[in-house]
């Protein structure tokens, strides 16, 4: 990855999620299903990119996560797995921090320190591919499969998973909390 060609300094080709084709489907119903929607929220960051004070925080994701967690009555510590929006590698890092899975600016350090951060076990947009409009449902399916241990995934240690989908660079974010 570090040898791939530069796209936008310092991001290189393999920092960029490739466009991919894909479709996902989930059935939502009022009856007892395989997993429950415990909380969800959408937030927008109305400040245009050039007018922002910080460029290392995804405010829309942070607010959507806080509200969705409150609705679900959970804390970040309860999250067993997360699928976050990482169309570029750095966005995945910032999204995981916005979801409270690591302190601001601390994700890479905690990974280097040997901690486990269970995010994007699917590979994320970066490695599974960016399926654009299908991404959110894709993430929901993947998180449920991880919670029940189906398909390519081993069952994760816990019963709560989170998905985060984003439009633009921190323009709008949706966070959904799923639980068994």
């Amino acid at each position: 990855m570090l040898d791939s060609e530069l796209v936008s300094d310092p991001l290189r080709l393999y920092d960029v999620g490739p466009m991919a084709d894909g479709a996902a489907a989930a059935i939502l119903c009022g009856r007892k299903g395989v997993a429950k929607v415990l909380g969800m929220w959408s937030s927008a960051n109305a400040v245009p990119f050039n007018a922002r004070q910080d460029y290392d925080v995804l405010y829309s994701a942070r607010e959507a996560a806080e509200r969705a967690y409150r609705m679900a009555g959970i804390t970040p510590r309860d999250v067993a797995t997360a699928e976050v929006h990482d169309s570029y590698s750095i966005l995945g890092v910032l999204a995981a921090e916005a979801l409270g899975l690591a302190p601001r600016g601390g994700l890479l350090a905690s990974l280097r320190g040997g901690s486990e951060v269970r995010a994007n076990l699917s590979g994320g947009l970066k490695s599974r591919g960016n399926v654009m409009g299908a991404t959110g449902v894709y993430q929901a399916v993947e998180v449920v499969w991880q919670l029940v241990g189906r398909g390519p995934f081993k069952r994760v240690d816990g019963s709560i998973g989170v998905i985060h989908s984003m439009g633009g660079v921190d323009a709008t974010s949706t966070v959904v909390v799923l639980g068994l």
Partner: protein, 132 residues
Amino acid sequence: MEHESVPLYWRNIPSYYRLAARRCRKCGEVYYPPVVKCPRCGSSELEDFQLPHEGELVEFTVLRSVPTDYMKQKPLVIGLVKLGPVKVLGQIVDAAPEKLKAGQRMEVVFRRVVVDGKYGLVMYGYKFRPRP
């Protein structure tokens, strides 16, 4: 090539050519690109505000994979420049990227931004370069 339509370009001429911004009469916030309603206080009373043509480089990056309109201008240097009360995103020209430093003085220049093929419109606008 995909770029802005001629009517949209024409409507944006004051902001593209001269960096004409808008200032909220109620709360004083300045917006570039211009807005019709103040996102901060909700007021619709905004007035023209002329941005200065000199400022300070906040940050920049070098695009090596560029949109089709800029294919012949690789690498493209894009930066944020603080012009008075606002930061403005724009292309940086006449400079080697390895010599650029955050904090340095920049000046606004008037350049071709998009050329619509051999027969279409030449669209002009602002860019930045280091102040000599």
